[in-house]
Symmetry: C2
Subunit: 715 residues, 2 copies
């Protein structure tokens, strides 16, 4: 691999410029990117790709436009409590969504409700929560948050922390002693967590470093034991620890993952081209840039700086009545919790809450056409805000595509009917909305998949690279007690630290309207009475409506199973069943950490797999609005302690998907995607299954294709 | 729907003829079907579709050919203990697979080991186990089984039971009183289970009936409370129960599922054609009719009358060394357990073990091209045997296809490297081997999916129709205590009985050879010492090698998690890790029935989710070789009571996948597919991840397609 010789200072400049496109260069860069050749085929079928520079919001939930953000900025600059010399750092500036009743009452053609921005700004260590009314042209609400945490780190914070760290003299000595050239140094900024009073009262960021010598995959070359605690506001290194000089820098061999860097092909038969083809174009439309319509589904889709991808107002057509029925008001990834299992000074703090600490919209990657998303995808941008309140575009951060994977949504064969044999099968064709966030080494892939039978499947894929740790060992034989470890050996001088991933979803399910109840349907063994039956036992499904939050704090148990329904007690099927959807967990994991461990206190929203809360506009973020260095006083777990009534109310369902990760050699030097999912599935919502009347595929509808350099089979 | 007027007797004839193609008409029907227009495009790309009439076995594991079966038949007919007047009914006649050492020692070009048939035959109520050596041309082993059960029911048994049932006078009275025309009567033959001494010492089959009046979906029109217990050998009705005359026959409206019977389209936007296209052809080959080669995988695939689909000798290329390494000697669905939760006389016995009672190969459906399997699929037939030892062909019962579903097998974006930005993503392309079995109302879809990263995912999909029960109720309001039921109302006069599905897989995993160990890697919380760290707790992975079977009886627990590794203690990676694969369970369910309930005793193999046994040629069928009416004396649970040593031995892993099914209205009148899966995943098997060097897809490789009635985009 070509030696990287650029100096770190130039890297910092590139880093800032590449991530923080300012509106001035934005106008050049993104107009170009929006109309580039590469982009053109991707959105070939769609007429409604947003022109960000002339955008007018069309839906109450549409994100703030470039123009609106610039107006908010102007209003803030002329807002008296602030001043140009003492202007706060903007850590979040997003649409202050209208009240739910306003959104539910709105229909296309109506004027959209007053546009407001909700701003989280930091000034002199205080978090200011500011609402700007764009119609009135002024700040309408302003308070200083009393809660323990700080807002999401800004890219500016990270740049300041890196700047302070790399100019710290001991750093240079340390890497020199380890033989790492300054030009190969790459540092990143993990969050500090909260570990008691030592680091309270000021913001701190950790800085850890790697060598990019001879590989693009610097994550595999950690400078172990070197960690700095940096105050980004004072731009000073608060603490410098260098305990790992005896640990060799892991070798770079076989770590570069770029296709262009591979020297030989893999030992496998080559694969012929394969693709999902739709020569008539996809069957979905994206209206006004955000409203997706496909088959029996309609929903609003947008990019969010913090949550990444937000689905709103998901509605499904009733196949019998043609009515468009409410299923979910809003669904998104509310918080992550990613604790690593290592007590070392340079590792203990790695207990990330990426949504609230960094924002997974900020971390979103531009999706790679053809490889991240198939052909015929529609790409949607994010419009986000820098710490000086300027808008920028996160291009191609969401894709939407139709999927046919060879699966069967329903089939039956019948041989018993006299006179004819039946073989009926229907293909499973679905719609996927996808984003991918690169949070340092890890890449998180989010899929929201909509099915014609009314099911929504939410998938999280984990890919990218493992966060590894240096070790003197090159073979397990030299490791004492290697059968009981927190960090298995994954390559020479590299151990993979055991860790968990938890992703907590906010699911504001509104089945046929806001007022719903949560029903836990327990499967319980019953014993037969003596002489009643040749059978000794059977199961009963016992439905229990949760009255308050405590009734709906669920720890999943394979041996004491339940179904979890959200039902509308006021709307009944023709048989008298309440209409509903059920949450169906998939493969998952639970946190095993001590409940009083600081990271578990902060992420106490993972103490249960399911929670139900009454709807509250302020309760969107499971780890608290201000997550960074928070003490856990504003989490889902804290809110739920009030044990509020939840029966026949507007309720929100929270589901945490978990993964335990015990690393192995296959996690080196890259990690193939590990996926889990959960379903939202109709239960007595439809009078009968909507798949019944869906047609099969016919040969005569198939596209006719030829290889890129070959002939058509039919010619 | 056209009224079905054919008489039941003609139905029986058609039933027998359509299922039991005799060699004489077989030669006409199947030669035709093998070369029909319909079949031609499906196997267009493959040269090796077997000519069953000229087939010569090429691999030690190839199933018996038509010619071999006919020779076995001739040998049995001239075998002295039998006679033509007292010839046994053949319930199973399959390849007696060579010893594992012979198969492992064989390589292409070697002569194949002696061909033998293993025959299970029933004569005068005794089960004869007979081995026929085709080379020697004689029976080499013959014993009468002492175990409690009977062989799989033959189609002949079912036909006899139906014949006895429909000619039973009370049946005619009963359906007449209910207003069901004899011409609309459809009866099926559920297995009887085993419920104590009353039904011992003779074979019995239950017969229950439905009306096909005005619908093809007769399952939705049960004649409730009518059940017959029939002795198929004596062709007599042993017991007749008719307790449900007060229960109305459910209406037929909205039940017909045939596309041709739908009167209006569904209320949804129509979907444009979408398909997976490979105009250069698929990348896999099927050599000698059974050996599948794709990417880094090779395996032997065959149809089996009992297990359905059998994967053998799955081997993967090591991407670093080019070596073809052993992963799995044999994998298949060994047994089902499907208990319904109803004590009624006409329901209590519904506790199916479909693999051993009926055979899911026998029940396999011919796959519907384009809808059951995508284009570019290869279709494989089964060659099975009738109860008079004649071969017949189960056409197109397995398909093999390559899949690209828009998924990402690995991705990473990198913005921190000076001078360039990296966005790398690799598409997930896989190979699927699929079959579907229609066991009465239920359709089971089995997918074995092979990935380039070395992972094998095994999926089971449940589709078809619900087994429903008649009820006088039309609305839940009239049902007492409807919050605690075993059978929710799913349509007027129809309740869906709660039931479970368990599928137990036999996984003879051989990692780099037969001698393996089973390691349970427990994740355990450790507390930090006072002052050791700001953290209070962390997790350790503690590896425990199972010494005996009891160490490896696993009840999964979310709150006490483990990984489950099969490792080869004699083969180490360069780091000293034993090479291995892990079993990764997916969404599953456990049986809650009383351990001493007769069905749970018979299906005690579901008492744990995972078991490990030492390899034993005779221990293939988790529910016992002779399952029908068995008492549970020959199950996996019984074998494992010996608590045999399993460390560093040839071991077999057993995994049970479970589903609880609480029916709802969406299960009426058809059930969209519900899927679960588990993975076999490499763990320290590869030195590094084989995906590293796999290329991305390129635009220039994409096929060029036009709509079937349109123009190409590039012309």
């Amino acid at each position: 691999m070509k030696k990287l010789t650029t100096l770190l200072i130039s890297f910092l400049v590139i880093f800032i410029v590449s991530r923080l496109w300012l509106p001035s260069n934005l106008k050049r860069r993104n107009i170009l990117s929006l109309s580039s050749d590469k982009d053109q085929p991707a959105n070939f079928w769609f007429k409604s790709k947003i022109d960000h520079f002339n955008e007018i919001p069309q839906h109450p939930l549409d994100p703030l436009t470039l123009e609106e953000i610039n107006r908010v900025r102007a209003i803030l600059f002329s807002y008296q409590p602030f001043s140009s010399t003492n202007f706060p750092a903007i850590h979040s500036l997003t649409l202050d969504e209208p009240y739910k009743s306003q959104v539910l009452g709105w229909k296309k053609g109506d004027p959209i409700p007053a546009r407001k921005a909700f701003v989280i700004a930091l000034l002199n260590g205080k978090s200011h929560l500011v609402t700007v009314d764009l119609g009135l042209g002024r700040v309408t609400r302003h308070e200083i948050s009393p809660s323990s945490g700080y807002p999401m780190l800004s890219l500016d914070d990270m740049a300041k922390a890196l700047e302070a760290a790399v100019s710290f003299p001991e750093l240079n000595q340390s890497i020199g002693a380890r033989g790492v050239a300054f030009s190969d140094l790459i540092c990143i900024t993990p969050s500090a967590g909260w570990y008691g009073p030592d680091e309270e009262g000021r913001r701190v960021i950790k800085v850890i470093c790697f060598s990019s010598g001879n590989t693009s995959n610097y994550f595999m070359r950690p400078i172990e034991g070197l960690v700095m605690t940096v105050d980004p506001d004072k731009r000073e290194v608060v603490k410098f620890t260098d305990s790992g000089r005896a640990i060799p820098l892991p070798r770079a061999a076989n770590t570069d993952y770029r296709y262009s860097a591979q020297e030989k092909p893999p030992e496998m038969r080559p694969l012929n081209p394969i693709s999902m083809e739709q020569p008539n174009g996809p069957s979905f439309s994206v209206e006004d840039g955000h409203v997706v319509k496909w088959a029996n589904w309609e929903f609003h889709l947008k990019a969010d700086q913090r949550a990444g991808l937000v689905i709103s107002r998901a509605r499904v057509w009733d196949s019998e009545t043609g009515e468009l029925r409410n299923v979910m008001y809003k669904g998104f990834a509310s918080e992550f919790f990613v604790p690593y299992m290592d007590l070392d000074e340079s590792w203990y703090f790695k207990t990330y809450m990426d949504v609230g600490e960094f924002g997974i919209g900020v971390a979103a990657s531009p999706l790679v056409p053809l490889n991240d998303c198939p052909q015929y995808s529609y790409y949607m941008d994010g419009v986000f805000v820098t710490s000086d309140a300027k808008p920028y575009i996160q291009p191609n951060m969401i894709c939407i595509f139709e999927r046919y994977a060879g699966d069967i949504i329903w089939r039956h064969s019948e041989t018993l009917l006299p006179g004819f044999q039946i073989n009926e099968a229907r293909r499973k064709v679905t719609l996927v909305a996808r984003m991918a966030a690169t949070v340092g080494n890890y890449d998180y892939i989010f899929d929201w998949e909509f099915q014609t039978d009314g099911l929504i499947q939410v998938k999280v894929g984990l890919s990218g690279m493992l966060m590894v740790k240096g070790t003197p060992h090159e073979n397990v034989e030299t490791m004492a007690n290697h059968e009981e470890v927190s960090s298995p050996l994954v390559s020479e001088n590299l151990i993979g630290v055991v860790h968990d991933h938890f992703v907590t979803f906010h699911l504001d399910v509104d089945i046929d309207g806001p007022n719903n109840s949560f029903a836990k349907v327990n499967l319980v063994k019953e014993e037969s009475l003596p002489g009643e039956s040749p059978r000794k036992s059977y199961l009963k499904a016992k439905r229990h409506i949760a009255k308050t939050e405590n009734d709906a704090k669920i720890k999943l148990n394979l041996h004491n199973p339940s179904e979890f329904h959200v039902v509308n007690p006021s709307r009944r099927s023709r048989l008298g069943n309440p209409t509903g959807y059920k949450l169906v967990p998939g493969r998952t994991a639970a946190s095993l950490l001590d409940l009083f461990d600081p990271p578990q206190i902060r992420s106490a929203f993972t103490n249960n797999q399911i929670w139900v809360t009454p709807y509250n506009r302020k309760e969107q973020w499971a780890g608290g609005l201000l997550t960074y260095q928070s003490k856990g006083d504003d989490t889902l777990a804290a809110w739920s302690e009030r044990n509020r009534p939840i029966e026949n109310k507007d309720i929100v369902l929270w589901y945490t998907m978990g993964f335990h990760h015990i690393p192995c050699q296959e996690d080196f030097p890259i990690m193939p995607t590990v996926t889990s999912s959960f379903d939202l599935k109709p239960v007595n919502f439809f009078e009968l299954n909507p798949v019944l009347r869906i047609p099969p595929a016919f040969d005569h509808d198939l596209p006719v294709c030829r290889p890129s350099n070959g002939n058509y089979r039919d010619t």
